[in-house]
């Protein structure tokens, strides 16, 4: 194997000779320069491969003596791993800077090489003074390179950086010399083995000085203003290096010193790392400058990484270096390294100061890159950050360090908030100017993104036992993306075919309740997707996200382990968020949606982690064995699912998300995605049953939440003017019933929930599709702007009519079955008041349903809609498929009730009897078939009577009404639609004042003002920053309790 010392040799040799070579011309120089970097990378690659094949750690001695008498280097798996990325990053960084390197003096090349050499040295050397030397090589090269951009800002930032760096190295030097004085040598390994010597007071101070110096190099909150300035002001190519490879070197050096630290320091240092993670992200919330924002994020990630490195020391098993790649820290490192460098490069390409000004100027590649980096940083699958967070949280729980999960969750959420907000804003920006971007600048971020993606198989150790099909959503999306060249409708059909094939594939795996859910997701998905075929204009990303959403929905019930569950859950979250973001005004609702969803996901993750901690395995079945953590797991899961169900109090994401998503997508959200929370509850109750906390039975509590959701959802729907908002709140209300009934934990209750969820899919699908069709023709969603459309869109009217009869629960249609089952189940269980309230909610539903159909289809037709045509067949066909389904199950409820009851019977004993078409429970009975027949009978009698004399009926025109001898003014004023239930609002509207929205707004506001407050410590004054460092040192010293 090549002696790694050749890395230094190559770097130095070419650095020394470059000024001379430069006489031959800059092209030659650059050739030599890139060749050297490639050679360095090749050396590390060789080593990395060797370790992959099982090579042993190699110690490299210099000067022909053994350590501690000479300086030695070490090349081990971890070293090779870090250096691989460092040198890869170096190569990419150099490519990115090609333009700058070409136009600047040859010195830049030399400095770049020495910078890389310094970082490599930092990683390999085992001599503490040598660390200092390499640190200085790195720093000084960097100081000089920051000057590549010569303006007052960049220079000022550089100067502050030098002051901070100078202080850090001063303390480091002092510390090193005292460590030497006390231990008598400079070799790190020997010092570690003679650790007790350092446990005297002087020794601890020396150690403290060394450690604090590296902490400062890691830019801890709040002593890091100088670093932020550099991130903001320096040439982005340089910022990328600072954030990635220099940081990598510093982190690794810190890692090397960890074995020296007294155990009692760990807690405090972890705390400081976590504080950095949380508060940097908090401060980032208010940040407007893109690069400074990235700076905050970098600093936060470093804090997390530092904390994790210390935490990992406590996981005995994770230290197995053969799995270095799957190690948490490694994954976090890779994730941050590539994503952050990539983002800085992008920031250079976009070249806009304000994060809000970013736009991609119709460059799909840039959009994709941006997405990859942001998603990776937020920790979404399949990127390394996802595996890192998953493992980290499970391990923390397993090793009884649950408290640390809290800052990780808060920090992650804050980071997600500003990153995803930025992503959303950027994607939605008007794309105007066209800028030509040099190819060489695209290459580095492109390669970084590719590595982020293809590194995915390295996490295989975590996927053991996980079915391949859980990655199908990604695969399907990728396939559709590759088919981008096809006509749009063709792609849609391919997508539907994929869904069908997928359904075929998973059919044998599903039975019982799962099968019911699969039926809803796959069959419903296919039918509803038909409507999306209506337009042939290209829809970027649409089919990809849609197929991903539907497939991940279908996968969730099939998950056997919490890992599978969570992975599919995250896929679902991301794809649905992207679909909302596609909507015209989707930016804000998408942000709210993703924040709540991520919060829910983190709650669920924590619950799984706790379960893992207790049982040691990931199987979902094991939830039933929980004992110690049973209650917390129960509550966390329930909370997570409540958020997803948009229960009362956490519902504010729902109206916006449903309404602003594209019209063809909303039925999928309302009809299918909302049901996943029901599955969650089924899972929760199925495995964990009833749990009691204090005097509260938790399912009872959930039941109350459900019924209040149903009630308030309905009430809010009554007061909406926008049809999609109305339907959104209606969905919320319906979900409330399902939560209520599933919380009953009885055969009837679950039957109700499942029955409702299937029928809800049908009628919400119809309603939203009908609305989509209408909106596609008239272009408004405000109900008072519609009216009288029955004559223009009779098919849509029929579909809406059937749907609202079904929703309201009026016999003979299937909705009544749901109501009947619900009340029977509630009374059987003894939940009388809940029954009363849900009855009230059901009555309120009449209000909004009538309003819905009246204001759209009845009343006065507006002049400007006189020429509208019926919605396109693409909308009508799926609606009538659902109409058919509803009619069928109304007529023959057995079709659906019997399988549902049979499925539920595996969970609860059944007390239901069948007599032909009659369902008989202990309380009552219902014969859907007979009701249908009788209704048709009694309907026919008067109808025939009217039809007999139909000849005398004369059709009249619009406005021919009895109007007290006056002529009505205009349709706009005659159509009674706006503020339809004014008196209702007057009577009980106070119940739905926007208190909850205000609450969440103030939470957000509070975080932002906190952020604003905290960032005022960054005054911009270099001296103040120096003072921060001194204060940090003193405070940390006193907190560590050195004695």
């Amino acid at each position: 194997m090549v002696n790694p010392i050749y890395i230094f040799v190559i770097a130095l040799f070419s650095a020394f000779l470059l000024p001379v070579i430069d006489k031959l011309g800059r092209k030659v120089t650059l050739g030599v320069f890139y060749l050297s970097l490639t050679a360095i990378f090749a050396v590390t690659l060789l080593w990395f491969r060797a370790f992959g094949e099982g090579a042993l750690i190699e110690n490299i001695f210099t000067a022909g003596s053994l350590p501690p008498f000479s300086i030695n280097l070490r090349m081990g798996t971890i070293e090779a791993f870090i250096m691989l990325f460092v040198n890869f990053g170096a190569l990419l960084g150099a490519i990115y800077l090609y333009g700058k390197l070409l136009e600047n003096k040859v010195y830049a090349l030399m400095l770049f090489l020495t910078l890389i050499m310094g970082v490599n040295g930092l990683i390999m050397t085992r001599d503490i003074f040598n660390i200092f030397v390499f640190l200085e090589i790195t720093s000084i090269s960097l100081y000089a390179l920051i000057g590549i951009k010569q303006d007052a800002r960049s220079l000022g930032a550089g100067f502050k950086y030098i002051i901070a760096g100078g202080l850090a190295s001063a303390f480091l030097l002092l510390g090193i010399i005292y460590v030497y004085r006390i231990t008598g040598n400079l070799n790190l390994d020997l010092i570690i083995s003679e650790n007790p010597l350092l446990l005297s007071k002087g020794g601890l101070i020396a150690l403290f000085l060394v450690v604090v110096a590296f902490l400062i190099e890691l830019k801890p909150w709040p002593a890091n203003g100088w670093a932020l300035d550099v991130y903001e002001a320096a040439e982005p190519g340089i910022s990328a290096m600072v954030a990635s490879l220099v940081a990598a070197g510093m982190v690794f050096v810190f890692y090397k010193f960890i074995p020296l630290l007294p155990h009692s320091w760990h807690g405090m240092l972890i705390l400081f790392g976590m504080l950095t993670f949380v508060f940097s992200n908090l401060t980032g919330l208010k940040q407007k400058n893109a690069r400074r924002l990235l700076g905050y994020s970098s600093i936060a990630q470093m804090g997390l990484l530092m904390a994790v490195l210390l935490l990992v020391r406590r996981f005995n098993d994770a230290m197995d270096i053969r799995y270095a790649l799957s190690d948490i820290a490694a994954a976090l490192f890779v994730n941050h390294f590539l994503a952050k460098a990539g983002l800085f490069w992008l920031s250079g390409i976009i070249n806009k100061e304000k994060a809000r000004d970013w736009s991609f100027n119709k460059q799909p590649v840039l959009v994709l890159l941006f997405a990859v980096f942001i998603f990776a940083l937020v920790g979404l699958p399949p990127f390394p950050g996802f595996w890192a967070k998953w493992t980290l949280i499970t391990k923390l729980a397993q090793y009884n360090m649950i408290g640390w999960i809290v800052p990780i969750i808060i920090g992650s959420l804050l980071e997600a908030a500003y990153l995803l907000r930025w992503f959303g804003a950027t994607i939605k920006r008007e794309q105007t100017e066209q800028v030509i971007i040099p190819r060489y600048k695209i290459l580095p971020p492109l390669l970084a993104a590719i590595v982020l993606v293809i590194i995915f198989p390295s996490f295989a150790p975590y996927m053991t036992g996980m079915k391949t099909m859980f990655f199908f959503p990604l695969l399907a999306a990728a396939v559709l993306w590759l088919l981008d060249v096809m006509p749009e409708r063709m792609r849609g059909m391919v997508m539907i075919l994929i869904l069908a094939a997928f359904g075929w594939y998973i059919y044998p795996l599903a039975k019982g309740i799962v099968l019911i859910f699969e039926f809803m997701f796959i069959a419903g998905g296919i039918v509803i997707s038909l409507a999306s075929l209506n337009s042939a204009r290209p829809k970027q990303g649409y089919w990809e996200f849609l197929v991903m959403l539907i497939m991940s929905l279908a996968l969730i019930p099939l998950a056997k382990s919490s890992m599978e569950f969570f992975l599919a859950w995250e896929f679902m979250t991301v794809s649905s968020w992207l679909l909302i973001l596609r909507g015209k005004n989707g930016e804000k609702p998408a942000l709210t949606y993703i924040m709540f969803s991520l919060g829910a996901a983190l709650l669920i993750l924590t619950a799984f982690a706790l379960s893992f901690a207790e049982t040691g395995e990931l199987g979902l079945v094991l939830l039933s064995n929980l004992n110690i953590y049973a209650i917390p797991v129960y509550i966390l899961l329930a909370l997570g699912f409540l958020v997803k169900a948009a229960a009362m109090g956490v519902h504010i994401w729902l109206p916006g998300a449903y309404s602003e998503a594209e019209d063809e997508v909303t039925p999928i959200f309302a009809g299918m995605m909302s049901k996943i929370s029901l599955w969650g509850f089924i899972l929760l109750f199925g495995y964990m049953g009833n749990k009691v906390l204090g005097i509260f039975e938790l399912p009872v509590l959930l039941g109350w939440i459900g019924v209040f959701t149903a009630f308030f959802g309905a009430l809010m729907a009554v007061f909406q003017e926008d049809i999609k908002y109305l339907l959104a709140y209606s969905s919320m209300s319906q979900l409330g019933y399902m939560i209520l009934s599933v919380s009953l934990l009885s055969h009837l209750g679950w039957t109700t929930a499942l029955y409702m969820s299937v029928t809800h899919l049908f009628f919400k699908g119809m309603l939203f599709l009908a609305v989509a069709g209408i909106v596609s023709r008239i272009g408004t969603t405000k109900m008072y702007e519609m009216g009288g459309l029955i004559k223009k869109m009779p098919a849509s009217f029929i579909s809406v009519l059937i749907a609202i009869i079904a929703v309201s629960g009026v016999p003979p249609l299937s909705g009544f079955g749901g109501k009947w089952l619900l009340y029977t189940a509630l009374i059987e269980k003894g939940w009388y008041l809940q029954a009363g309230l849900s009855f009230f909610a059901g009555a309120i539903a009449f209000l909004y349903l009538f309003r819905l159909i009246h204001t759209i289809f009845l009343g006065q037709l507006k002049a400007r809609f006189r020429e509208v045509k019926e919605a396109s067949l693409w909308y009508i066909v799926p609606q009538f498929i659902f109409v058919g389904a509803i009619m069928a199950i109304s007529m023959f409820p057995n079709l659906i009730l019997k399988p549902i009851m049979a499925a539920v019977e595996t969970q609860f004993p059944s007390h239901v009897n069948w007599d032909g078409y009659t369902v008989i429970t202990a309380l009552g009975y219902w014969n859907g078939n007979a009701v249908m027949m009788i209704t048709m009978g009694v309907f026919m009698v008067p109808l025939i009577w009217l039809l007999v004399r139909v000849n005398m009926v004369q059709k009249v025109e619009q406005f021919n009404i009895v109007y007290a001898a006056e002529r009505p003014d205009r349709p706009e004023t005659t159509h009674f639609a706006y503020n339809f239930f004014a008196h209702y609002q007057k009577a009980i509207g106070f119940l739905v004042k926007e208190q909850i929205t205000n609450f969440w707004n103030s939470v957000s506001e509070w975080f932002h003002s906190l952020s604003a407050t905290f960032r005022h410590i960054y005054t911009g004054n270099g001296q103040t920053y120096a003072l921060h460092i001194i204060i940090y040192i003193v405070v940390l010293y006193s907190l560590l309790g050195v004695k």
Binding site: F129, V133, E136, S139, I140, Y143, A144, G147, Q150, D151, A152, R153, L155, G156, A157, G158, F159, K160, I162, I163, G166, L167, S169, A170, L173, L174, I177, Y178, Y180, R181, L186, G225, L228, D229, E232, A233, K286, Q287, R1015, H1016, Y1018, T1019, G1020, N1021, G1022, Q1023, A1026, L1027, I1030
Partner: protein, 117 residues
């Protein structure tokens, strides 16, 4: 040789004080240099053993009993490196100040605060 050590620390503190309170960029650099010097003093003072001689072999000092007669050679070697590095950083700082002055015409640290928050 504690007195030298104390002197060294005194210089470090003085330098730090200067660095934190002087507004003029050159004085800040000066403060930094004083800190450096202090550290160098501390380094050499730590290698000194009372009554011993320099670690250079000659007629008076043979390698055989050197172990009991010489001062620690390592701090001397280290301080050499430290001095060179200190020099390098100082030089770079000065260059920065030159450039900053050229771009903004000011030598006050408080005039370089446009990056903040």
């Amino acid at each position: 040789m504690t007195i030298i050590t104390i002197l060294g620390f005194l210089l470090i503190i003085i330098g730090l004080w200067g660095m934190l309170t002087r507004k003029h960029l050159f004085r800040i650099i000066l403060g930094f240099s004083i800190i450096d010097t202090g550290i160098h003093l501390v380094i050499v003072s730590l290698g000194y053993i009372k009554g011993r001689t320099a670690p250079i072999f000659d007629a008076d000092l043979s390698p055989i009993d050197a172990i009991n007669r010489i001062v620690d050679p390592i701090p001397s070697a280290l301080v050499l490196t430290a001095i060179v590095i200190g020099l390098a950083v100082t030089a770079l700082m000065l260059v920065y100040v030159i450039q900053m002055h050229r771009h903004k015409g000011s030598l006050e640290i408080s005039d370089y605060e446009e990056l903040k928050w």
